[in-house]
Symmetry: C2
Subunit: 217 residues, 2 copies
């Protein structure tokens, strides 16, 4: 019943009831962090512990399934590959930046990253890999085509899409995620997110827009 990291689409193997149980576990994970107990999950989900163990094997299996379940829910719509001008490219980048900031500042993302980070130490499970795959790497997979298209259209200039992406990632995220994970109260209203997304996008365009001599950096 264990799923590998690559096995993303867990949705068809889960019954309605199981999804409900995982939702309950997820909510509890957000509230309690890693120190949730099997008893608490069972109570919250109104199911028996025996069922929990039958379905998910053991505690790690439950956590694994919960993280994968949440991961399967955040699949985001890819950007439409329509006409690409500087305006639509800017809009796309801002959209990505804004979405990403919303994700990493959400309660569930913080909770999931926290538990994944703490489990990453003693490698009993691949929570870290799962979160990474559905977070940072999923973002890269979705953003890189846009960057490539921007280069194709002569709007962007860079050598390596990976490097360009990582710069964008840094400009958007800055210190936000680590501060949030460490418990710092970061003020992230809808407005500041929009402003940060615009700023990061403009900075990225300043560095990688065509007609600049900085693309080799």
């Amino acid at each position: 019943m264990l799923h590998s990291v690559q096995d993303i689409d867990t949705s068809e193997t889960l019954t309605e009831r199981q999804q409900a149980v995982l939702d309950a576990a997820l909510r509890l994970l957000v509230e309690e962090g890693d120190n949730l107990t099997m008893t608490a999950v069972a109570r919250r989900a109104s199911c028996s512990k025996e069922t929990l163990y039958k379905w998910f094997g053991d505690r790690d299996g439950l956590l694994n399934a919960t993280v994968q379940w949440q991961a399967s829910k955040v699949r985001v719509a890819a950007v439409d590959r329509e006409r690409l001008d500087i305006g639509s490219l800017t809009a796309s980048l801002e959209r990505f930046a804004s979405d990403w900031l919303k994700v990493i500042s959400s309660d569930t993302s913080i909770a999931l990253n926290r538990v994944a980070v703490s489990h990453a130490g003693s490698g009993k499970d691949d929570l870290g890999a799962i979160v990474l795959q559905n977070g940072r790497f999923a973002l890269a997979r979705r953003l890189k085509p846009v960057l490539e298209a921007g280069r194709q259209a002569g709007l962007l200039d860079f050598e390596d899409a990976e490097t360009a992406f990582r710069t964008f990632f840094g400009l958007v995220g800055r210190d936000v995620q680590i501060r949030l994970l460490l418990g710092d109260r970061v003020e992230l209203t809808e407005a500041t997110i929009g402003g940060d997304a615009r700023r990061a996008t403009q900075q990225f365009l300043a560095l990688f827009g065509a007609n600049n001599r900085l693309q080799s950096l």
Copy 2:
């Protein structure tokens, strides 16, 4: 015996033996992560559990003292406020970037951040605040004077030092820290760190160097 977050200089209240014990605890923390046991620490430090409890109160106290102890060791020499031209400014920034990358990619930093992140959920202690104070905020305190001096000298142009710092922070760190914390194997040799430091510095200067029209971003 508990120290507040502000109380940084714990060095004078610790005997040699206590420091040795904390060093042992630190080494164990790097190896075992948060699931180190008091018995293991006692065995590693060749001391009794009773001594551990007498000195540090309880498990959280020991963790707290360990983190503070490591924090007190990474106090770095401030940059010399000599003649400031574009060359020395660039060198300073590259130095900061390189040092920071070395810190966040070190085993002890990863371990400490991991335990601080996991404890940040249920706020029993301030490990997150301590790590943040001696990491990201200490860096800001040491870097901002350099940025201000650069602005004073007409080399940099920015409105808010905090914003400029956060951009630099993002350009340097990018996705490195979160990937490391989540267990991703990031190749960080001496050479790549040097290259990344140079790249980040050049990008920062491109965005905030004088004679640019991007400072309002």
